[in-house]
């Protein structure tokens, strides 16, 4: 045998079978049918053409590459049994209610495939409904609240503090421990305090009562982060009712507001906004509005006459108003009021309009508010513009009770504190004292959704549901009820906090059953004989149940004017060089929404600053302190130190036109999570130096308890420049409108009423070489309107099919900015963070332009012979007492769009319905369109904003935050241009719905996000080709104009000239 190993393939090989070896040469032993197939007559003449070959090649290449890729396997579970109400791709809307202690609104929640993604006002029901337009008013905080549902920093289950550290626990353990704790406290006779914001929920009150039934020492203390104790206490003293009344601005011909920012931050703003706007129509009975204030507020920006005074002068302004009116009414005066002529004119106007007048005041000083009540009483406002019978249930908080509680906690008489909806360790004037006191309480429970400033100090955090996951009920006003229903199952292991109280009271009822029971019990009292199930279902459907308003009863004013006057003057005394006014911004409010990136990136309607709070200071003061008066990308703000007693903050200074010199203003609600508390995703970000720091600084330490109420101003603070600078992210670096009358058109009511359109809405004309005026010669007087000139062929949109457009009434726009956040939510606008905003790269499709007037007027200056250069320079300087002009600007959907002609790849085109469309997939990002847009509305994706780089701010980055995205709208990638699409997805949906129902689209069927969010009716969407549509009516009105008409781009968006009621006001002067 050979030593080499042999291997054989098979038995035949081993045997060396010659047959098999022969056969092996022929792999396919049988004759294949190839010849037959190829010889088939049908294939004769067929050949693999070049195209086929390329197809095969392409297919093989594609198949090979696909096979090479590892496809991510995403497991999704389809509906085995499709829920009856959910159709993939079709939105469900649920009526619900938003209430957070500062804002109340009946809302509709849009859900897609079970996810809430958008919020708008309930157009049919609720106190925030504008009945004239069938729209529900919401503000930016309300419609942005959907995002906070998906905040990854929400607590995902109950937490217990063990040895100073928070750790997870179970609900069962928590229930047991707390029940024991409560029993121990009540057994020891110690107080069990439920510390909450104002509770307007009947069921929650019932739950507290149920707990009290079990533990006799239970006590409910309410505390409003922004206190109205001064108002409610004054009402108690004046009328015997400690309530916040209902105001009716629709009935007020004359409104005088002393530091009450009632369109943005004072009182029930979602009501006042539509009421006020309904009286700003120059074709109707336009009201006249005086605003006396120290800082420029949104309300002040809307006023016909704005009187800037120092903080210390505000009480004296009230005294002056009171005395002027008391003088007319023959009532007792106080004396020592502020002597300003304009205040006298305001008083004259109020007196002339008595019975239809309203004075509101933002002060939280009881004495001042008694005086205001006295004024309103003399004016006969009660029963007309102020309703004490159908009062609100808002702002029940009592500063004195909270102050007492802190003392009691320190004294050790409090055995347990259960906190919901409040953050005292952050927002109390004596927060440090509170923190110390909390240590002395045996059982401390927070129902916060975050381990925030207060919750992180508590023994237990039992996270509440987000309101979109909860059942709840509300009683905003006498006779008005509202329901909140869950729009999604609980995302985390959380509980509705009042449900805990029900459970701890020993009741077996679940929270939603408890609400039903409460309602059933109430109905048995108030609506005897009604079928509860039917009422309940209807209320759930509508979100609201209301009973007719109670008739007005006569009021007897019993306030002590002399004492109130003395108190007011005392509040005004001791003024130093610098005075401080604390306020809340439109976006952040009292601070509980500071973790919402949409709100942080929403520019302040006036200062246009994002992602910071700052010191508002007059230009004169800024220059006196030697601080920068221009802020921009590379022009940081100067930093000052503000000191009041032990409280000190360092904040950047933003020069603010309209700010009274000598008074500075700082926004509350910032500086959340300053000690590293996890208060939510966007509240803490990396600053310009790469350090993780809170957004802004906390100004609550500047509040103080004065005469039993929290005071939000200080008449003497120290302000000093630190020499430091701080970068500010500002979206509008230029302040004035440079007298550009084809952008900003504004007139007075008198001019408007005179009816000469040319005087207030001058049309642009161009001289032509034909005898237009028929005078026999061709000269410069032969002119034609710009609209008649065409460089290009007209798009056939006029009169053919639909032509979508917007009409924006600058008189109805109060500048709240709810449209901006609504647009963010509907269109998946990326949040880009402070650094990108600082580089003027915010992505908002809709911006709110704010212009201040200048004292320098072009026409006057030219007449006086001043040079253009000097005029232009001086026109950049805003007036010390500017009038303010708000203007929402989005893509104008030009019929002769300059962007469309310049795109080399035709990525932006015109639809036959008048829309300027953007095909993201086609865009290669030359940005030529953005350059050539006269309105500068196009936005470029400078980076991939959905990457880790933007993880801190962009909710679309994390898996949870991404749930808020609207599946109907593409998320844009890096390198493409985007802009307002006029919510084309809604247009398509509306058209589809009408088509399915076999009818034409009706006016009002389709709303853009901005128009739906605009409860004041400033933004109206519709079909311009529909002659009966509202938008067409507005477009045809005398006030209608196209921005930059002379450029000839023929926009589908028109604006209505702003009319101020200033002429009559001035007439009084």
């Amino acid at each position: 045998m050979s030593s080499t190993k042999r291997y054989w393939m098979d038995a035949a090989d081993l045997r060396q079978d010659p047959e098999a070896i022969k056969a092996r040469a022929n792999e396919f032993p049988q004759d294949l049918a190839i010849d037959q197939v190829l010889g088939d007559a049908r294939f004769q003449g067929a050949s693999t053409g070049r195209r086929d070959f390329l197809k095969f090649l392409g297919f093989s290449l594609g198949a090979a590459s696909l096979a090479a890729c590892e496809t991510p396997v995403i497991k999704s579970i389809p509906y085995v049994n499709k829920p009856e109400d959910i159709t993939p791709g079709v939105a469900n809307w649920y009526a619900s209610t938003f209430y957070d202690g500062q804002d109340f609104a009946s809302i509709l929640v849009k859900t897609r495939e079970g996810r809430p993604i958008h919020i708008k006002g309930n157009p049919r029901f609720g106190i925030n409904r504008n009945p004239g337009l069938d729209k529900g008013v919401v503000n930016a905080r309300i419609n942005s609240s959907v995002l906070s549902l998906y905040d990854g920093e929400r607590l995902k289950g109950p937490r217990q503090r063990v040895e100073g550290k928070l750790q997870g626990t179970t609900w069962a353990d928590a229930d047991k421990a707390i029940d024991a704790g409560l029993t121990a406290a009540s057994a020891a006779g110690k107080r069990i305090v439920v510390l909450t914001n104002t509770i307007i929920s009947p069921s929650t009150k019932a739950a507290v009562a149920a707990l009290k039934a079990k533990h006799a020492t239970v006590e409910h203390v309410q505390y409003d982060t922004i206190s109205y104790s001064g108002v409610t206490n004054a009402n108690l003293k004046s009328f015997g009712k400690r309530v916040f009344p209902s105001y009716d601005f629709t009935k007020a011909d004359v409104v005088v507001s002393v530091d009450a920012d009632f369109l943005s931050s004072w009182g029930s703003t979602t009501e006042y906004a539509w009421q006020y706007a309904s009286r700003r129509n120059p074709d109707g009975a336009m009201n006249r509005h005086w605003q006396v204030e120290a800082r420029m507020s949104i309300t002040g920006a809307n006023a016909d006459v704005r009187i800037p005074v120092k903080v210390s002068e505000l009480p004296l302004a009230v005294v002056a108003l009171h005395d002027a009116i008391a003088g007319k009414a023959g009532a007792a005066t106080v004396g020592g009021g502020l002597q300003i002529d304009e205040l006298k004119h305001a008083a004259d106007a109020l007196w002339a309009a008595r019975g239809k007048a309203l004075v509101v005041c933002g002060s939280n000083d009881e004495g001042v508010q008694v005086l205001v009540n006295g004024i309103n009483n003399l004016l006969g406002s009660y029963g007309s513009t102020i309703d004490l019978d159908n009062h609100t249930w808002f702002f029940q908080g009592d500063d004195a009770a909270v102050a007492q509680l802190v003392k009691d906690m320190n004294a050790g008489t409090v055995g347990a504190v259960l906190m919901a909806g409040v953050n005292p360790a952050y927002s109390l004037p004596n927060a440090a004292e509170f923190k110390a006191a909390l240590e002395k309480v045996a059982l401390t429970v927070s129902f916060s959704r975050y381990a925030d400033e207060t919750a992180s100090l508590c023994g237990w955090i039992l996270p509440d549901n987000h309101y979109l996951e909860s059942w709840n009920d509300f009683m905003p006003k006498v006779g008005q009820y509202a329901l909140a229903q869950p729009a999604i199952a609980r995302l985390f292991d959380t509980r509705s906090w009042p449900g805990n109280l029900v459970r701890w009271s020993g009741s077996p009822a679940k929270w939603n059953d408890f609400i039903r029971q409460t309602w059933q019990a109430n109905l048995a009292v108030h609506g005897a004989g009604m079928d509860f199930t039917a009422v309940w279902h209807q209320s759930l459907h509508d979100g609201v149940l209301s009973s007719p308003a109670l008739p007005a009863t006569p009021v007897a004013f019993m306030g002590d004017i002399a004492a109130a006057g003395a108190a007011a003057k005392q509040a005004a005394s001791g003024a130093g060089q610098w005075e401080l006014s604390l306020y809340t911004t439109e976006a952040i409010g009292d601070g509980q929404h500071a973790n919402n990136p949409w709100l942080q990136e929403m520019p302040d309607p006036l200062a246009k600053v994002t992602w910071d709070n700052y010191v508002c200071m007059s230009f004169a003061d800024v220059r006196n302190l030697g601080l920068p008066d221009y802020l921009g990308e590379q022009s940081p703000a100067g930093v000052v130190s503000v000191k009041l007693g032990a409280a000190e903050v360092k904040l950047p200074v933003v020069p603010s036109p309209g700010q009274k010199p000598g008074t500075i203003a700082i926004a509350l609600g910032y500086g959340r999570g300053a000690n590293g508390e996890k208060v939510g995703k966007a509240a803490v970000t990396t600053d310009h130096e790469g350090v993780l720091s809170p957004v802004g600084r906390n100004a609550y330490p500047f509040t103080s308890l004065r005469n039993g109420t929290v005071s939000y101003d200080a008449v003497s603070v120290e302000v000093s420049a630190t020499g430091e600078t701080y970068p500010i992210a500002i979206t509008q670096t230029h302040l004035t409108h440079m007298d550009r009358h084809s952008i900003v058109k504004e007139t007075s009511l008198a001019v408007y009423k005179a009816g000469d359109k040319d005087a207030f809405n001058h049309a642009h004309t161009l001289a032509v070489h034909e005898d237009v005026n028929g005078d026999g010669t061709i000269d410069a007087r032969d002119r034609k309107p710009v609209a008649e000139f065409d460089l290009w062929d007209e798009h056939p949109v006029e009169g053919v099919g639909h032509r979508w457009g917007l009409s924006i009434d600058l008189n109805s726009c109060i500048g709240c900015g709810a449209c901006i956040t609504a647009c963010n939510s509907e269109n998946n606008i990326p949040v880009v963070g402070k650094d990108e905003v600082r580089r003027s790269r915010e992505m908002h499709w809709l911006r709110l332009d704010r212009y201040y007037s200048s004292d320098t007027k072009w026409a006057e200056g030219r007449e006086a012979g001043e040079s253009k250069i000097s005029l232009y320079t001086r026109m950049e300087e805003p007036s010390e007492r500017p009038s303010v002009f708000f203007m929402p600007v989005m893509c104008q959907h030009c019929n002769h769009a300059p962007c469309e002609t310049v795109c080399p790849v035709a990525a932006t085109t015109h639809s036959n319905e008048g829309l300027n469309q953007m095909a993201y997939n086609r865009c290669i990002g030359t940005r030529y369109c953005a350059n050539n847009c006269p309105y500068k509305v196009r936005r470029f994706n400078w980076f991939n904003y959905v990457t880790e780089q933007f993880a801190e701010v962009n909710p679309a980055w994390d898996d949870l935050g991404r749930m808020v995205l609207n599946p109907d709208v593409t998320v844009r990638a890096r390198g493409v241009i985007e802009k307002c699409s006029l919510c084309v997805q809604s247009i398509q949906a509306g058209k589809l719905k009408a088509k399915k129902e076999g009818r034409p689209v009706k006016d009002g069927d389709i709303e853009t996000a901005c128009s739906a969010a605009c409860g004041t009716g400033a933004i109206v969407f519709g079909d311009l080709n529909d002659k009966r549509s509202m938008v067409r009516g507005k477009a045809d009105s005398d006030r209608s104009y196209h921005m930059l008409e002379e450029v000839g781009v023929k926009p589908n968006v028109n604006y209505l000239v702003k009319v101020r009621n200033s002429e009559e006001a001035a007439h009084h002067a």
Partner: protein
């Protein structure tokens, strides 16, 4: 043979023979490069590498690494683009237009000017590419058949015209340049002894034999190409100016732009030729071929075009006032007195005021001064484009959108990088290609050479 008046200054100085010319031009290619070349090459390629790095960073991160914003969507990118395209004008103008006008003095400078053109156009073409948000889709600007039905490029867009204009210009310039190089490559092929070089230059010279027929055809082709290239000199920058002129932005929307841009381009192109030639003349000892006369001629072109540009600036100002258009008027007042006033006055002083010094013969024949001025003009012309683009955009119609543009280190890096790449290419050209059209220069030796002229003059006297 063409003869020339004796009083005309000679174009080739000293006593040069045909062999001298060959040796002068081919010598540096054959021999080891001087140390200076290595120094410059190292420097240039380092800058080029840095710039390439910046470009890669830009492409990997996004356009946001530049300083652009919602209002100023173009700044240094398009400024650099127009600047480089402008520079790329001189070569073709010199070789084509001057050929048609039979300007013999062009022969000493046209080769390097054309090379400069080619490299400048390559640099220019970089910017429209990298300034795109999605450069990987850049081929969509080409009218390629596709699977998307009626989807096609937008022929209304001036950017698309740019694509055509630049690519045509580049192709024609390249062909023109290469045709001219063929006989010179053949000369090198015939002269060098290293086999590798012989092989390479043999391939590059396309088998040029140098017979009479080849020369006839060579001259015919040159003439035809000159005819084609001449309108391109005017069309390219006109089309580039349409990017601005057809827009609605005040300061851009100006009918004067095409001639203004073309003269500006020639202006900056000649300045760049001066910069490069003055260095090359010194380093490569070409004083005999690139004479003061050449420099002076080019300086004259600079005065003329610079003055045209100056008139254009003033016309713009006048029209902005005369038109009575509020926005136009503001745009120009803002240019001169607004936040970017310094760039406007840099442009004015560099482009309009300083070239006027060339009216003095002493100055325009002073080489050091010329070199200094050529740099000044190129700075000025960069600012011209910056002024047009940035100052028009940063404050256009909507005061609410007004903002400032601040360049980032990437903006600067990319710009410097293109200068680096350009210099690298130019240095390679100077090292391996005949920097003068040596065969063309030989054709004028007996007519315009100094010694021959003197001989002819003596002969005449006798």
């Amino acid at each position: 043979m063409h003869s020339e008046a004796a009083i005309r200054e000679p174009l080739i100085l000293g006593h040069k023979t045909y062999a001298d010319i060959t040796n002068d031009i081919v010598g540096p290619i054959e021999n080891k490069a001087p140390r200076g070349w290595y120094v410059l090459m190292t420097l240039a390629s380092l800058v080029a590498a840095y710039g390439t790095g910046c470009i890669l960073y830009l492409i990997s991160k996004g356009i946001g690494v530049w300083g652009l914003n919602k209002t100023v969507d173009w700044a240094w990118d398009i400024t650099n683009f127009v600047w480089w395209v402008g520079i790329g004008h001189a070569g073709t103008l010199i070789s084509a237009v001057l050929l048609l006008f039979r300007q013999k003095w062009r022969m000493a400078i046209n080769r390097s000017a054309e090379a400069m053109t080619i490299f400048a156009v390559i640099m220019a073409a970089t910017f429209p590419g990298i300034h795109m948000g999605r450069i990987w889709m850049s081929y969509w600007v080409l009218p390629l058949p596709n699977q998307f039905g009626s989807l096609w490029v937008n022929f209304n867009s001036p950017l698309l015209w740019d694509v055509f204009a630049i690519s045509t210009y580049f192709s024609v310039s390249l062909v023109f340049w290469y045709i001219g190089l063929i006989p010179d490559f053949a000369t090198i092929r015939d002269k060098v002894s290293k086999p590798m070089m012989k092989k390479v230059y043999g391939i590059l010279s396309f088998g040029w034999t140098g017979n009479a027929k080849a020369w006839t055809r060579f001259e015919e082709v040159s003439l035809v190409l000159a005819g084609i290239a001449t309108p391109l000199v005017f069309s390219v920058h006109s089309v580039v100016s349409f990017d601005f002129a057809t827009s609605v932005i005040p300061g851009w929307h100006t009918t004067i732009f095409p001639p203004y841009f073309v003269s500006g381009a020639v202006f900056s192109g000649f300045a760049m030729v001066q910069t490069l030639l003055l260095i090359m003349r010194k380093v490569m000892h070409l004083e005999a071929y690139i004479t003061k006369k050449h420099i002076e001629y080019m300086n004259i072109v600079i005065i003329v075009t610079g003055s045209i540009v100056g008139v254009a600036y003033i016309t713009e100002l006048f029209i902005s006032w005369y038109s009575g258009v509020e926005y136009e008027s503001y745009a120009f007042i803002n240019r001169a007195t607004g936040p970017y006033w310094w760039s406007y006055w840099a442009m004015m002083s560099c482009n309009v005021i300083s070239p006027q010094l060339f009216w003095f013969k002493k100055l325009r024949t002073n080489l050091a001064f010329t070199f200094f001025m050529s740099i000044i003009v190129n700075i000025g012309m960069w600012f011209e484009r910056f002024v047009i683009i940035v100052t028009s955009l940063h404050r256009d119609y909507m005061p609410s959108a007004w903002t400032m543009f601040h360049p980032t280190w990437v903006d600067v890096g990319v710009f410097l990088g293109t200068i680096g790449i350009f210099s690298t290419l130019y240095l390679l050209f100077a090292r391996y290609f005949p920097v003068l059209a040596l065969n063309e220069v030989k054709s004028i030796l007996k007519v315009s050479g100094e010694s021959y002229k003197q001989q002819a003059a003596q002969h005449h006297h006798h």
